[in-house]
Symmetry: C2
Subunit: 274 residues, 2 copies
Amino acid sequence: MVSVLFKCLVNGESHDTLSIGDRGLHYGDGLFETMAVVDGAIPFWPRHLERLRQGCVRLGIDGLAQDGVLADEMAQVCAGQERAVAKLVVSRGTGGRGYRPPPPHGLPTRIMILSPWPDHVSRLHNEGATLRYCDNLLSRNPALAGIKHLNRLEQVLARQEWGSDFDEGLMCDDRGLVIEGTMSNLFAVSQGAIMTPDLSQCGVAGIVRNWVMEQAQSMGVGWEIGAVDRHRLSCTDEIFITNSIIGVVPVRRLADRDYPIGTTTIKLIDQFPY
Amino acid sequence: MVSVLFKCLVNGESHDTLSIGDRGLHYGDGLFETMAVVDGAIPFWPRHLERLRQGCVRLGIDGLAQDGVLADEMAQVCAGQERAVAKLVVSRGTGGRGYRPPPPHGLPTRIMILSPWPDHVSRLHNEGATLRYCDNLLSRNPALAGIKHLNRLEQVLARQEWGSDFDEGLMCDDRGLVIEGTMSNLFAVSQGAIMTPDLSQCGVAGIVRNWVMEQAQSMGVGWEIGAVDRHRLSCTDEIFITNSIIGVVPVRRLADRDYPIGTTTIKLIDQFPY
């Protein structure tokens, strides 16, 4: 979300408002995708759609518009945009009594918002990112882990901890494990092999995170999902972060250590499709 | 929230829609109060307002309208209503870049919604409530515990576990402690003393929960906040649940045990102001 919204569709119609009864507002009862728009299209659209559908299954949200409808509306939103950010929010819709979801005839709300490509992306690509550790923790709940749901207060609280002096903050769980950044996934490279935190308890399984693991596989680079703590990060060779807007970004500083931009990170950046 | 909304104010004006950029929708970045309206007024208004203000401090939401403005608008919403439910939602407002809250000049959104008094309240008072245990867990995060924030997916998932065959479901944390119902606080009475779960890790500190503890104090009834598990509940004398709409409601069945409506519960019901 940015301050200037320049195109919105709500359930396929041009609107910049939402029903006051929407469950997205009342309970965060929904999901979202934040996507890069490149030359009027979304390069990773099938992956975003798949994650969104998986999230709907996990939350029991039925009746989301068909793939073709979503693709057509998104194409309409993205038309003529060289570079932009598209956000697709899907809520369970309006109604229901209290927390109880409405009967099956209640339909989800789909909201598409186009906003400008952020300026900081090219700087991150040129300079790398400076990271800090956040004091705010991620809570653990396997039922919500992995999906990109609308309950994001923990990220909001963490992002309040600093201003513009860092590019990203890493969040840990109550076991002291480092899980992800407030808006990105985390990778550590040691002796040429890639490791990324396990997200079975908390965190968002990013589209680019999956792409990195597939890419590593096809490049013959070893990769592992596992437990990552601060000590491990302090003695790793390279660190990079990913999300759908920034792609793959090398970390040049985390806490009190500088990191080199290593060959594995550079290879992945070179392979990234946009 | 009910399916028929019959009066809405957004920032003091009559609206039934909200800006698509509101952070309440995007991140659940806000708080709410659900309040009983009795003869055109809200009996516990000062308590609700205090909890809302505390929640704003916890989340770092500045600039909410002054008490007098909120009270005037709420009086306008409640005017002429013999019995109704008023919901006040406060979000951090629109804007900001991603999770980062907008600069201080961004103002919170306040939404007031009036809806009909639910039919099931009198039945609960006459018959008592039938409870089950939910499989879905509450995650633990002291930074969010106690306040009534808009991240309520765990309650939505829990409420999906059953239909109309139970009145409420109790939710536990990952330590096996029973914390609260999906929409109510929990009390157990043993040998005339009241116990209610500790909410320092998760749960909502209800207005009526606080009222019960004050009332117990003034009635000379012992009370304690502590760890409550299923075993403890299975061998307690009385159980009751509370919230601002149902007040104090005796539990007549939980899991596979029937409970009597005991003298402590009856005394509290008699004292309840509405």
